[in-house]
Amino acid sequence: MNIAETIERLGALILERVFALGGFLLFLINALMYVFLPPYKPRLIIRQVRQIGADSMFLIILIAAFTGMVLGLQGYKTLSLFGSEGALGILVALALVRELGPVLAALMIAARAGSAMAAELGSMQATEQIDALTVMAINPVQYLVSPRIVAGIISFPLLTVIFDVVGIIGGYLVGVGLMGAPAGPYFNGIKANMGSHDIASTLYKSLVFGVVVMWVCCYKGYNAQRMATGVSRATTEAVVLSSVLVLAWDYFLTSILL
């Protein structure tokens, strides 16, 4: 292989990556644009809110309860070294509201609803169902992707708030009920020290994560290769990439919001 050929291949590879990245961004812009263009189909959004939101609720409550409980346990152990068990409430609450709530909720929804979405769109692509929509003069992005992104924007903040609240109760049950931290300061500490700023940050983060997870999972599913392995690969990539992006965005958002 001579030098010119090597450079040509390298260039082709870079171009391919840049085009793919551009396609990824355009996919989101396109989907968001179609949210505002007729025909409006609220029932499609409602169905997705049920699948992403309502159907994920039990899982979110379960994970939130255990997260809060382990925080209560660890927090009590550590705080009792300094004799400040009274600060347990605010420790658990801030950890959940600022970080664990939005991040863990997003990761769990990506694993549960995001993977299902990527697999569903991927197999629709593989069996020409997406082409069938196009031939019926129905825009598949508007019909399939836009409602999912809107549903993500609606569901993620709601699930995150549920996660936060359940986690705080879980921390209370273990820290106060089991370990014997003082009951009064648990909630009083939260009331006194948690500001609207903290609550805003949980909401901002969950909104951004909602868009990121839905965007990645829809994109990967929609662009799956038309074969069985294409669908499975799309599903894996969707979960991995959306998890990585959630954690990366979490860092950037925290550095802006803190």
Partner: protein
């Protein structure tokens, strides 16, 4: 013979393709295709696997855009149209996909009703009536609440055909409608296509490798080879053309040679 090259009065053609070229990477899949699909007739595109049959159909149903050449659908040149104008042309289409492409999250009834629910303002009763009329026309009754996964391949094809017909299209496109069916069912689906085309007064463009069975229901046959239409005419004309490549293709189908070629390709 070769009416495509000589040209027909455009009013008589539902679809006219001229000089169509398409390249994927280094592969020139379509290399100057000329094709006429006369109105209210069945035009069947045949040819070996991987010679561009399906790609050609995907240009005619506007899923792909060509690199060069023109496609005229009922007098409208479509290769330069924008998204909205394209959708207006698509309103004329009914398309039967190779594997049916039924929505597997919906029942048979919902699948057939889907184009009406999404694209028209018909009432629930009117939609139900139209759906049942169309399902009757393809010979399916009492399947309304079944899901596509619960019915046989032949029935899925019928449902998909009903969905393609329910909005009373002007042009019906069929991508290998008999793939995966046994000879008896293949015959039944062919007969159904012929009858529907006559009863609905449709223009039909079909891709098939079911030769020579498909000739019985075709008004025109186009044989595609190496990205070009090599033979075109009525089935009798094409069979009588004594084209070496076409004869080998026919024999290959019969002896299964083609299968081996695809397997090693």
């Amino acid at each position: 013979m070769n009416q495509a090259q000589n040209g027909n009065p455009s009013s008589a053609n539902a679809v006219e393709v001229r000089g169509l070229k398409k390249r994927f990477g280094r592969q020139q899949v379509l290399d100057g295709v000329d094709l006429d699909c006369p109105a209210q007739e069945i035009t069947t595109i045949v040819g070996p696997s991987g010679e561009g049959k399906t790609v050609l159909l995907k240009h005619i149903n506007l899923l792909l855009r060509p690199d060069a050449g023109t496609i005229t659908i009922e007098g409208v040149e479509v290769t330069r149209l924008g998204a909205l104008a394209l959708n207006a042309v698509r309103e004329k289409f009914g398309m039967l996909f190779q594997a049916g492409a039924l929505f597997d999250s919906m029942t048979v009834f919902e699948n057939v009703a889907f184009p009406l629910v999404e694209k028209t303002n018909l009432s629930v009763e009117e939609i139900a009536q139209r759906v049942h009329e169309t399902l009757d026309a393809v010979g399916l009754q009492g399947m309304d609440t079944k899901f596509p996964s619960e019915i046989s391949g032949g029935m899925q094809k019928r449902v998909a055909l009903a969905r393609a017909l329910v909005r009373k299209p002007r042009i019906l496109m069929l991508d290998e409608p008999t793939t995966g069916l046994d000879p008896t069912r293949t015959g039944a689906i062919h007969e159904l296509i012929r009858n529907t085309q006559k009863n609905f007064g449709l223009s039909a463009v079909m891709v098939s490798h079911d030769v020579p069975a498909v000739f019985e229901i075709s008004d025109r046959v186009a044989f595609i080879k190496q990205g070009k239409i090599r033979l075109y005419g009525t089935p009798a004309e094409v069979l009588a053309a004594n084209d070496e490549v076409f004869d080998r293709f026919l024999k290959g189908r019969a002896s299964g040679e083609d299968l081996e070629q695809t397997a090693t390709a």
